[in-house]
């Protein structure tokens, strides 16, 4: 395996392409997301997205914030050559809702909120609460893993240059 610090910097574009592709899929190929789990699920963009456009040494950064923020400026940034570097997601399954931000460069999960769990007041509550939280974190993490697996499987295949990139370009410029 490559040295960790080299591979972190050399391939961080994969995280940015993943989030850019994910936005495209959420807008244009919802069945692909719904097919990732046996139970019905919904995934949509939450209250924050960051895009970056690097031209030589200059870095342009666009942040879109707010629960009902329009994403037109994001699409405009994509047209100019930007990629998505952070994306807040809302994931719903059954009556439960998760909200979290994926950082493209590191795949860190931040501002990660699970469905509400019961209060922890005594020693007896701790074990149950930890197991419940672990289960809830794992549900959302498994979804992001399935999405990343879909992406990376396409990314290393011929489908990426032949089908995916032309479709993403068409969407960006539509």
């Amino acid at each position: 395996m490559l040295d960790v610090s080299i591979s972190y910097n050399r391939y961080k574009f994969l995280g940015h392409e993943f989030l850019t592709w994910l936005w495209f899929v959420m807008e244009n190929d919802e069945p692909r997301i719904k097919g990732l789990d046996q139970e019905p699920l919904a995934l949509r963009i939450g209250n924050r997205m960051v895009l970056e456009n690097r031209r030589g040494d200059a870095l342009e950064s666009i942040t879109i914030k707010g629960d009902d923020a329009g994403l037109e400026e994001g699409l405009l940034a994509l047209r100019k050559g930007a990629v998505v570097t952070e994306m807040n997601l809302l994931y719903e399954a059954g009556d439960n809702q998760w909200q979290f931000t994926i950082k493209g460069e590191s795949l860190h999960l931040v501002s990660f909120r699970c469905p509400q769990t019961g209060p922890v007041e005594t020693e007896e509550d701790v074990e149950g609460a930890v197991l419940e939280k672990a289960y809830l974190y794992e549900k959302a993490i498994q979804l992001t893993d399935k999405l990343y697996k879909e992406f990376i499987t396409l990314r290393v295949s011929d489908q990426w240059p032949k089908k995916v990139v032309p479709s993403v370009k068409k969407w960006i410029h539509s």
Partner: protein, 214 residues
């Protein structure tokens, strides 16, 4: 005082909003696993730093008792997980406090000598003495970061994305358990955690950034 384990750690993995860095654990502990685990945690548990003057002390602590670690009775084992915490105690001297005490000591020194100035060597000596003096008097500030380790599935979640805390975790984990932690970022996730074939892993190495414009 009773011995009941009242939860002291209200932050971390049970809090309303968390941040997670994900790792893959490479290797296995010596059998019997629970005994090995308890022994490694105890050996590298946090030590109280009020007696020494280190800038920083790092060690393991109990998830539910971060200020009184106790790894007895497999208390770190919850369901199929190992749950414990990394504690980092740091002594930080406020810069303005250091500046004030250095100025006082320099004035005292100037009053004792015939010259109207101090050499840079004398100033450095005073600064070192003052730093050491203050460090003995300032208590260490603890930071606690929770860890959830699925031993069977060989993954670990660290509940912070702070770079320094992640570096301390990786160092202490290797020292304690003699197994490396591999941070999961875009390349390592693709290479190690997605079940790609050898051919696809080779293809991964040759990728370069896509241009979606033009």
């Amino acid at each position: 005082m009773g011995t009941e384990r009242i939860p002291q750690n209200t932050m971390g993995l049970l809090s309303r909003s968390v941040s997670i860095t994900r790792y893959k654990v490479q290797g296995k502990l010596k059998e019997p696993v629970l005994e090995t685990m308890a022994s490694c945690l105890k050996k590298h548990a946090i030590r109280e730093t009020d007696e020494d003057v280190s800038d920083k002390t790092v060690g393991w602590t109990s998830y539910d008792r971060p200020y009184a670690p106790d790894f007895s009775g497999s208390s770190f084992n919850i369901g199929t997980y190992f749950v414990f915490s990394l504690r980092m105690d740091k002594r930080t001297i406020p810069p303005k406090m250091l500046k004030k005490h250095c100025a006082i000591e320099m004035a005292k020194r100037l009053a004792r000598i015939d010259r109207p100035y101090l050499s840079s060597h004398e100033k450095d000596m005073i600064r070192d003495d003052v730093t050491s003096f203050l460090r003995r008097r300032i208590p260490a500030t603890p930071d606690v970061y929770d860890i959830l380790w699925s031993y069977e599935e060989a993954f670990l979640w660290f509940f912070t994305t702070l770079k320094s805390a992640n570096e301390d975790l990786e160092t202490l984990f290797l020292k304690s358990f003699e197994m490396p932690l591999i941070r999961l970022f875009p390349y390592t996730t693709a290479d190690l955690a997605m079940g790609l074939s050898a051919r696809d892993r080779d293809a991964l190495l040759t990728l370069s950034a896509t241009t979606f414009t033009g």
